[in-house]
Symmetry: C2
Subunit: 419 residues, 2 copies
Amino acid sequence: MEKKRKDKNLVVQKYGGSSVADRRSIERVAERVISSAKRGKKIIVVVSAMGKSTDELISLAKKINPEPSDREMDMLVSTGEQISCSLLAMSIHKRGFGAVSFTGPQVGIITDTYHTQAKILKIETERIRQQLENKTIVIVAGFQGISTALEITTLGRGGSDLSAVALAVALGAETCEIYTDVEGIYTADPRKISDANKLSFISYDEMLELASAGAQVMHTRAVEVAKKFNVRLHVRSSFSKKEGTLIMGQTPLIEETVVRGITLTENEAKITICDVPDKPGIAAFVFDKLAKIGVNIDMIVQNVSRRKMTDISFTVSNKNLNKTIKKTEEIAAKIKAGKVNSNKNIAKILVVGIGMKSHSGVAARCFSVLAKNKINIDMISTSEISISCIVNKNIGKKALAVLHAEFGLGKGRRKKRER
Amino acid sequence: MEKKRKDKNLVVQKYGGSSVADRRSIERVAERVISSAKRGKKIIVVVSAMGKSTDELISLAKKINPEPSDREMDMLVSTGEQISCSLLAMSIHKRGFGAVSFTGPQVGIITDTYHTQAKILKIETERIRQQLENKTIVIVAGFQGISTALEITTLGRGGSDLSAVALAVALGAETCEIYTDVEGIYTADPRKISDANKLSFISYDEMLELASAGAQVMHTRAVEVAKKFNVRLHVRSSFSKKEGTLIMGQTPLIEETVVRGITLTENEAKITICDVPDKPGIAAFVFDKLAKIGVNIDMIVQNVSRRKMTDISFTVSNKNLNKTIKKTEEIAAKIKAGKVNSNKNIAKILVVGIGMKSHSGVAARCFSVLAKNKINIDMISTSEISISCIVNKNIGKKALAVLHAEFGLGKGRRKKRER
């Protein structure tokens, strides 16, 4: 995809499954879209499948064949978005506005041939541009495209976000609005921290860190593409008129806010390979073998070696723990390492803030507030803009709370930091 | 479409909505398809949407917009067949056979641009042939195609039958098997005549007469195409192994059977325009105006005129009666005719048999057996191979029964007429 000159009058709006879950929701979306059209905007709407309809199709498929082919799964699940986009078009027509729905293949969202997790290669914009010129609202089925082999493909998790961002890039929209069932990005999960604060702005890099740690609002792939092509994302609720969170390159007031968000992840386990011979290429060997069984490794920590031996620790999702332990034990035997330990009793705290680049001592401040509260840290790893700590699971929520307070992220202090 | 040389090893099988209504049904179809594949056949399967799923989508759409656009309806309802064909492919894979599903647009079923009632213009066979050469079972979503304007279209009532017959023509299959929830074509509706007899053979023309009179098994358009390109149709049940009814050009034993089937239609009403001035073009004017309000006129009777006046009678489906009366009254005023009468209390008996062409006196035999049973005939019209009579609704079933017996169509006399 090439960078285009931005068209300020063009907006891409993406509505997730919860925003089009039933007839009433579809009608609410229609009204929302029309209110943007009345303000003179040219609008492209990207929709997900209705509510849980995709899950229902997958469940039916798995009853018929527990290991359905990826190609046929794409044929099957791509119908969900086709249904919601045609219904939305009808709802807009009912209100007297022009609209037309397109499937991914129809509109020319060209992907590679990796079914169920295809990557977008390019988007043909001709058909959309024609409709926009006629002042017609264009509705595109999210999550899907057509492969270079002319097969229907889907884009994997977060696929509709990706469709929306890629369309914004291809058509030169300045902003891509992501409508969801939460009001934006928060300093911490509001279900865990009652005074968590909605952010007005966040940078792409901060959002990428938060999304990787399981903030479900946006998938990393869409944020990466938005960053690469400098498309501003506006994450907001389809159930309210409030402004949400802008995800962008240069955020205002960035100097004042060292930490932007903190996440707590409680569904991971830690695995340690003890006494690994410290030779070049060992880590590569270990994680290459693990990648082949298809598990996502999260945090990896390897400390300096003593007596030509080291320990390698990493975390994985609990649901992949058993098969990962099994594979890790095979690997340990091959590389003549010691025994393999695992621990499900952990929580991961991730502290994110682009301000860390210019503010020293953030890590020290994290560790000392945890120490002051008698919270022991089991593993640490850091990046330029984030600090991850593993602690005991039973004190995970406490660790989240004390850090959230320490960096002044609660509502009480909002006025000081942001308008 | 051009005539092709027939491939005896190639078979098209079409399964209707009731044959793929749920998981178990889909699995039964998979086994049926595989058993044909094991006999060395190259197979193209055409499927309808699962059970009532299309009706459910239409009902949801009408709640959102009581008058949805035809284009968006096609986007919406075409998903039904896409779902059933991918699930069938998965079910065949599970059993260790190769299969691939295609949408109508994917496979190149090219139609005109009349949404919800498109006509097939041509079928590109390249993709199907490639798969058949690899011994892969090809599954095609019925009822749909892609228009010359690159839009998704659907083929209207009986559309999946039409897809199947058109594919049989395009690929040169000798037979097209139509799987449904009845065992074939009967001498009369078995729910109305208990000793109705399944026919082993019926000619295209006889089937066309029966289908027009509401025998729901096959739609006339598919039979017309089969006749034009001489594709043998085999209508049979997907729930049993029994042979069904072959629909073909030259049926065996045709000399012996004068009447092949009798239908009773009870959901029509009769409208009469009295005292119509007998001038050239009057009938054309009347039925042209009626066609424009989209009602299907069935039987039309106009007798010779007396004193430059005549009466014109016709029948319409009860559900269109009110709007047809209203329009007919407008027309009557315009042409300076007399009053318009209507009567819902009628039944139509249709007697069909290609043998009528060579046997004289069939009509007389009909009328006299009805007279002998004190059944008064209100209107009569005939074609080369059929006789239609309108009688009072309360004696419709009796008229059906006495005619069915008179022409020896009951099970008791089966052995005499057919092996």
